[in-house]
Amino acid sequence: MSRPDWVVLLLTLTGIILYGVSRNRSSRNLEGYFLGNREMPWYVVLLSIMGTQASAVTFLSAPGQAFTDGMRFVQYYFGLPLAMIVLCVTFVPIFHKLKLFTAYEFLEQRFDRKTRIFTSLIFLVSRGLSTGISVYAPSIILSSLLGWNIYLTNIVMGGLLIIYTVTGGARAVAYTQRLQLFIIFTGMLIVGYTAVALLPPGIGFTDALRISGKMGRLNVITTGFNGNGFDWTDRYNLFSGAIGGLFLALSYFGTDQSQVQRYLTAGSIRESRIGLLMNGIVKVPMQFLILLIGALIFAYYQFNPAPLFFNQVPVEQVRQTAFRDSIGRLEQRHLLLQEKKRTVAASLPAAMNANAYDRSKKIVDELRSLQGEEEGIRNEVKGVIRTSGVKSEASDTNYVFLRFVMDHLPAGLVGLLIAVIFLAAWGSIAAALNSMASSSMVDLHKTFFSGASDDEQEYRISRRYTLFWGIFCVAVAELVTGMGSLIEAVNVLGSWFYGVMLGIFLVAFYVKRVGGHAVFRAAILGELLVILLYWKTGLAWLWLNVIGALAVVVMAYLFQLVQDRRGKSGDDPLG
C-alpha cells in the first residue's frame, strides 16, 4: 500500500473510534448501556440492523461469489422480507411489551429457567465462536494480500472496536454503524463505477451486463431443478432461498440477541417495526448491487488480463520452489488465452447490436469455451500449489474483489476500501460483543449472582463482560489461525444452532399447551439431530435451519402429549 493509502486507512479507523467514544452519553445503568435508554429512532435501528448483519465477509466474498458462480447468491436473502413481517406481527410486540433486555428472558417467563439458560448458552457459545471466526476470516485475506502479520491483523480487526464498544455500549455501536455504512456504500459505489469506467472505449455498462449475462454471471433466479428433479444439495436457488432463507432470517433476527438487541433499542414498537420492515425492503436490492459489482468485475476481466490466481502470494511462493517451471508454463498459456479472450469479447457487443444472432451465438460459444479453458488452467494452478507443499486456500474467490481494488484503484482509494473491510467487520463484531455482554449479564450473572447491586455496579460489570467477550473473540481468531479460510464455517456453525433456537421460540409463541420440560428435551434432541444430519448427509446448510426448527416443534408437541397422558394416569415421568 502507498503512503496516501495508509493515511486514509489510519484516519478512517481512528475517526470511527473517536466518534464511537464520543457517543458515550447513555445512562450508567443496564438500560442505558445495553439498550441506549430505548430511545433510538427507526432509521438508526435500520442501519444498526444492517450494519450488524453485513460483516466484512459480505463485502469481500459476495462480489467474488458473483464472479465465479454468478449472482444467484442473492436468492439466499429472499426469505428475509417475509421474516421481517413475521417478526413484526409476533416477536416485536411481545418483546417490547415485556420490556425485555434479552430474547431469552422471555423463555423463562413462558417456560422455565433451564430453557432460558440453555438457549442463552447456545447463543453465547455459537456467537462467541462465530464472531472469533468473523475476526479471522477477513484478517487472513488482508494479511495474505498485503503481507501483514496475521496475528497483528486479528488484533486490529477484533481489538480496536472494543474501545468504543466497552465505553459506549449499544448507543456507540448503533451510531458508529450508521457512519460505517455510509463509508462502506461510498467505497462499494466507487469500485462499481471503476469496473465500468475501465472498460475499453465503446463498451458500456449494458455491454458489460450482456457479456456477464451470456457467460452465466447474471443468473439471479435459479429453480434448483435439474434432469433428476430438485437438487437438495444445491445451496442457492429460489426455493432454498425463500424457505430455508425464511427460517434462517427468523432465527437470526428473532432469536439471536445480536439482532434482537438492535430493535429493542427502538423508542417504541412502531420504531422497531418500521426499522425491520425497511430492512425487508432494502436488504435484497442492496445485496443485488453488491453482487452486481462482482458481475461487472467479471465483465472487466473479459477485456483485460486477469491474474493467473487472484491470491498471488501462494503463486509467488511456488516460484521459489522446484515447481517454478510448472507455474511459468501455466502463466504462458494463461497469457495467450487472455489475449484471445479479449479479442473475442471485443467483437460481441457489435454483433449483438447488429442483431446478428448466429454470429453472437458463435462468439458466446467461443467465449464460454475460453472461459472453460481458463478455469482449467486455474485448477491446474491449484494443483501445482498443492503439490508444491505451499500452504494456501484452495479457492481464490474471496480475493477477487480486493485484487481488483489493489490493481485498479488510485492511491488513497485503496486505503479507503481496506478501511471499508475493517469497518464492516467492526460493525458486526461490536454488535456481537454488546449482545454477548447483555446475555451474560442479564441471563446468567443476574440469575446466578442475585446479591444486591446498584445500577452503577451493574453498569461496571457489564463493561467487563463486553471486554471479556472482546478478548475471547480475538483469542478464538488467533487460535483458528492456520486453519485456512473459514468463511463457510460461520454459516455452517450458525445453522447448527439457529434452527433449534427458532424451534424453541416458535413453540413459545404458537404452541401454548407445550411446557418447559417438553421443549427442553425436544431442543436437546433437535440439536443432536441437526449435527447428525450435517455429518451424515450432504444436505445444504440452509435446510438445517428448517429441519432443526420443525424437529423441535414436533418433538416438543409429542413430548407434551406423552407427559399429559402420563400425568392423567398419575405418573410424572418428565418432572
Binding site: V74, F78, P81, L82, M84, I85, C88, V89, P93, K97, L209, R210, S212, G213, K214, G216, L218, N219, V220, I221, L238, S268, I269, R270, R273, I274, L277, G280, I281, V284, P285, F288
Partner: protein, 42 residues
C-alpha cells in the same frame, strides 16, 4: 385510543397490514424483475 395503541400507529396507512402487503409485494415484484433480468441477459 390507549397510549400503547398511539405508540404503535403505523406511518402513512391505517394499519400495519398494508405495510406487510407492501413488503411482501415488493419482494414478489423483485423476484419477477430478477427473473426477467436473468432471462433477458442470458
Amino acid at each position: 385510543m390507549s397510549v400503547m395503541e398511539q405508540d404503535d400507529k403505523p406511518p402513512l396507512f391505517r394499519s400495519w397490514g398494508i405495510w406487510y402487503l407492501i413488503v411482501a409485494g415488493f419482494l414478489l415484484l423483485q423476484v419477477l424483475l430478477y427473473a426477467f433480468f436473468t432471462k433477458h441477459f442470458s
